[in-house]
């Protein structure tokens, strides 16, 4: 969390509105993520965290509002182009390619890059998640829940993004791995990757985040540095379990 001071704005979202049919899920939120930061969105179930990430990542269409990535509006840009510009999303529910093998899944993650670079990154991912290396030929759909979660994260890393958005990366992971995941996030950040993190585990998320936003029923109700929110009473009561 060191290099946030001189970071210029990497992602800027303004007055974003998203509907599911007639359900108004995101009600005009604005936030930004600066280069080199870890920013986290916290909020109860159904607050709209995943919706926000999916909209930024291009899986959902915003009904209004602007999304700028590195100064360029990406609201109308097709999602796959945004990926090649350096943004990656590790979506909720993993969405790995069930019938492909572990290795093929990882290779898909590096679709926008050339093979040599990809081969290099894959070794790094294998280092971070040795289980994936052990199982590189297994059909991904038969992996255990936690293994799939590792694969999803590994796949997102394969594109070597400038900005990575992680939707509950620790979900379903054993405590020992949760710790590891947060370590990985921090080390990624040290290597210069900007991170937008959504976590149920608010405690840990806030403790590594530079800044955080609190989302409640589609609106941002609070924001500040990770530390300040960690000690904010209302936040403690609502999201940290007392």
């Amino acid at each position: 969390m060191a290099n946030s001071e001189n970071g210029k704005t990497m992602l800027k979202v303004e007055d974003l509105n998203v509907y599911y049919g007639s359900i108004h899920a995101i009600k005009g939120i604005s936030f930004e993520v600066n280069q080199g930061e870890i920013v986290t969105l916290i909020g109860a179930n159904g607050a709209g965290k995943s919706t926000t990430l999916n909209t930024v990542g291009g899986l959902l269409k915003a009904s209004s509002g602007t999304i700028e990535f590195e100064g360029k509006s990406i609201a109308g840009t097709p999602a796959h182009k945004v990926v090649s510009e350096g943004m990656a999303l590790c979506p909720e529910g993993r969405r790995i390619f069930q019938r492909l093998t572990v290795k093929e899944n990882l290779e898909m993650g590096a679709y926008t890059r050339n093979k040599a670079e990809a081969d290099e990154t894959i070794e790094k991912v294998y280092e971070q998640f040795p289980r994936l290396k052990e199982r590189f030929r297994q059909i991904a759909g038969t992996l255990s829940g936690g293994e799939q979660q590792m694969l999803a994260m590994g796949r997102a890393l394969m594109s070597k993004p400038k900005l990575i958005m992680l939707d509950e990366p620790s979900m379903g992971l054993a405590p020992i791995l949760v710790q590891q995941i947060f370590d990985i996030i921090e080390s990624l950040n040290k290597d210069g990757t900007t991170i937008l993190l959504v976590e149920q585990n608010a405690q840990m998320a806030l403790s590594i985040a530079d800044r955080a936003y609190v989302l409640e029923t589609g609106r941002i109700v609070n924001s500040g540095t990770g530390d300040s929110l960690l000690h904010d009473d209302s936040v403690r009561r609502a999201y940290l379990g007392g």
Partner: protein
């Protein structure tokens, strides 16, 4: 709650449909075309709601529904011929009661035989899923059609005879291979069709709203969870499939006894597809939609007759356009316009 309200909507639709057209019919305000189409429309409505039980409620794609209709149709014809051979043909003229009795017997037996066919094909086939099930039902429909091509049935003084040899025909021919059934006595009536449709709706809708129907839908939504909740999957899939087959059989008998001749070829893949189009267009799982789509799409090609050679072309374009429109989010929102607001207000 919503579902049970819909149920009465459907009965009312059928009743209104019946009353309006019966009045128009008896006052001579209907064109010959519409008059002639009333019974086929009712038969297709039954086909559509029964297929919807399989496709919409049970969630299986069936491409051979016309096969069951065919079984019911030809069974119905044979039953009629067998019954008529036992009586003086003139006794039937003007004897509405007798006609209705024969029709009822033909429909019931047609439905029963179709149900048996559904059971036999259902037991093995329902173990498959998705497109594999679809292809097997398609295969079943084609097998029925081809079997009927070489089935010859006749009645002589020793009774009813079935044969595969065209040269064995003797006495009164009932089924003549590819020529199908000839000289059927037309005993179907619009009123009888509507009664049958109401019965079918009654059975299907009450089934859906009973514990069995819930089980069928649960299996559709998540087979593994349904098993884990103690449901025997095959039993309920079979229940939907056989019920649906029986109703298609009933529709077939009603349909067949409205024409003086029917041919096996009528009940081919294209007819199965046609009924599927009714179901999808009317909305999968939506019985009201099935009724309306069946009626409209049966009449549509006839309404396009003035375009002569462009008729089927326009039909194809209409079909594509309707599919695109009904699946277009904006268009849907537009259709739901007024309700839209209500919902929003209700929520906030």
């Amino acid at each position: 709650m919503k579902r049970s309200k819909n149920r009465f909507v459907n009965y009312i639709i059928v009743l209104v449909f019946f009353v309006v057209f019966q009045i128009l019919l008896s006052t001579g305000h209907l064109s010959s075309l519409i008059t002639g189409q009333l019974i086929p429309i009712v038969a297709y409505m039954i086909m559509a709601v029964s297929l919807n039980l399989v496709v919409g409620i049970s969630g299986e794609l069936s491409l051979g529904h016309a096969g069951f209709m065919s079984v019911g149709a030809f069974t119905g014809v044979i039953v009629e011929a067998a019954l008529l051979s036992k009586m003086d043909p003139s006794a039937l003229n003007g004897n509405m009661g007798m006609q209705m009795l024969i029709l009822a017997v033909a429909i019931v037996i047609g439905a029963a035989v179709a149900a048996v066919a559904g059971f036999l094909i259902g037991i093995p086939v329902l173990r498959l899923n998705g497109d594999y099930l679809a292809i097997v039902t398609l295969a079943f429909g084609e097998i029925i059609k081809n079997l009927l091509y070489c089935l010859y049935v006749y009645i002589d003084d020793r009774g009813l005879h079935f044969s595969l040899d065209p040269n064995s025909l003797n006495g009164t021919t009932v089924l003549n291979g590819p020529m199908g059934a000839l000289g059927i006595k037309k005993i179907s009536t619009f009123a009888a069709g509507c009664v049958l449709l109401l019965i079918v709706l009654f059975i299907i809708q009450n089934l859906i709203n009973s514990k069995s129907g819930r089980a069928i839908m649960a299996i559709r939504d998540n087979r593994i969870a349904a098993e884990a909740s103690g449901l025997h999957v095959t039993k309920y899939k079979l229940m939907a499939f056989v019920t649906s087959a029986a109703m298609a059989g009933a529709a077939g008998a009603l349909y067949a006894l409205n024409y003086s001749t029917i041919v096996p070829k009528k009940f081919d893949f294209n007819t199965s597809i046609l009924v599927l189009v009714f179901v999808v267009l009317g909305g999968i799982g939506n019985m009201t939609g099935s009724l309306i789509a069946a009626a409209l799409l049966t009449v549509l090609p006839e309404m396009l007759r003035e375009f002569s050679t462009y008729r089927m072309l326009i039909y194809a374009i209409v079909l594509i356009a309707v599919m695109l429109l009904t699946n277009n989010a904006k268009f849907k929102a537009f259709l739901n316009g007024p309700f839209h607001k209500e919902k929003k207000e209700g929520k906030e």
